[in-house]
Amino acid sequence: MSQIFHRSTNLVSRVSIYGAVLIIGALGYALYAIAMSPWYTDQNVKRQQPVPFSHRHHAGELGIDCRYCHTSVEKSSFAGVPPTQTCMTCHSQIWTNSSMLEPVRASYRDDTSLPWVRVNALPDFVYFDHSIHVSKGVGCTTCHGQVAEMALTERAGTLYMSWCLNCHRQPEKFVRDKSEVFNPYYESPSAAKQLELGRKLVKEYKIQSYQHCSTCHR
């Protein structure tokens, strides 16, 4: 009876002993890298909008408060996308000939909606509420990043559950004074000072480190 396996398969078997470990490890790493990549999470990916609205110009250079447009952020789960009337409050008078703003004028004229593209969206089984976060000292930039420096708006976090839990597990590392919540240029103090400030604020604002499922999933 002849040998079933050719001699060359010895090499295959030897390599595969080590290879199995390496291949599984590499596969795992590749999956992780893909899952964390902007290609998959949309993190730091600029979205094209019907009008190239610049937060850098409006919130940064002009210093307009976040709440001027996102009016419901303090009292609702949804921060609010401004109606065309808000845009036209100023643009009925300035940049009235700009072709870039024609979709805004058309929307106002014809009473049609501007199809803004959502930048931050959660799965439908997550019930996030803006109002509780901003009223407990979580700043806009903590989750949304340096919006006042974004020409086209991009997602600043992965929006993964681990990203949410990162703060829910240790809110003292992120909270700021309530008066600074809407400050787009807030810089948190050094790590040690932030911990000290954070512990004080967590106590003062009665921040609860909710981590059970039904906090967000209902």
Partner: protein
């Protein structure tokens, strides 16, 4: 013979790979159902094909009065009393109301009217028609109801802010405009005796006061 074995092995490997790939695909795609991610419900402002205007949110039927939204209080909702701009507030103004008014004023009004009410805000500097200063005699004499009315209905180039600012907050802003008018036209007599000395103190302590104000 040797060649045949090699081919068989190749076939075995290929079949094995094929089975492995298929089962991996089957397992992965089983985890790819998105029906919990994309539930059959509308989130705020979500578009829809169902209605002709593409909006999932519907306008209430004209004449609808939501619970607790019956607007029978003329003073509260129009700023008028017996048809003329009211000179009283619909509710007593406390210090907390003034502070809320300042916060709301700083959000919604400063882009044009600026922090002092002079009408030289950032948007005016960028070409918006300049509104009158709050400190001219005509507006100092104007009843508070006038300011409430302007915020509610708009005036000249200014659009209505009724959709952006709650009714009570519009009254609080009107109260804060009164504060600005008072502050810009204050004299040394308006400063309490106990505070007056601070005005003549050296510059260092004044800048400390400025920092304290800014950090508030």
């Amino acid at each position: 013979m040797k060649l045949k074995i090699d081919l068989n092995l190749g076939g075995f490997v290929r079949r094995g790979l094929g089975v492995a790939c298929l089962s991996a695909l089957a397992m992965l795609s089983a985890g790819c159902r998105l029906d919990m991610h994309l539930q059959p419900k509308y989130l705020p402002y979500e578009s829809t094909d169902f209605f002709a205007d593409g909006r999932s949110e519907r306008q209430p039927v004209p004449g609808t009065v939501a619970r607790g939204q019956l607007r029978v209080d003329e003073l509260m909702f129009t700023g008028r009393e017996n048809g003329v701009a009211a000179s009283t507030f619909p509710f007593p103004i406390t210090r907390a109301d003034l502070e809320r008014g300042r916060e709301r004023y700083n959000i919604y009004c400063t882009p044009c009217h600026d922090y002092t009410g002079s009408g030289r805000g950032m948007i005016v500097q960028r070409g918006f028609p300049q509104p009158p200063s709050y400190h001219i005699q005509r507006l100092r004499d104007a009843p508070v109801g006038h300011f409430f009315e302007v915020m509610t209905n708009g005036f000249g180039a200014m659009y209505s802010y009724a959709a952006r600012i709650d009714t009570a907050d519009r009254w609080r802003i009107a109260a804060y405009i009164r504060v600005l008018q008072l502050s810009e036209n204050a004299t040394i007599q308006d400063v309490p005796d106990s505070e007056r000395q601070k005005l003549s103190q050296p510059v260092a302590s004044q800048s400390a006061g400025k920092q304290a104000r800014e950090s508030q």
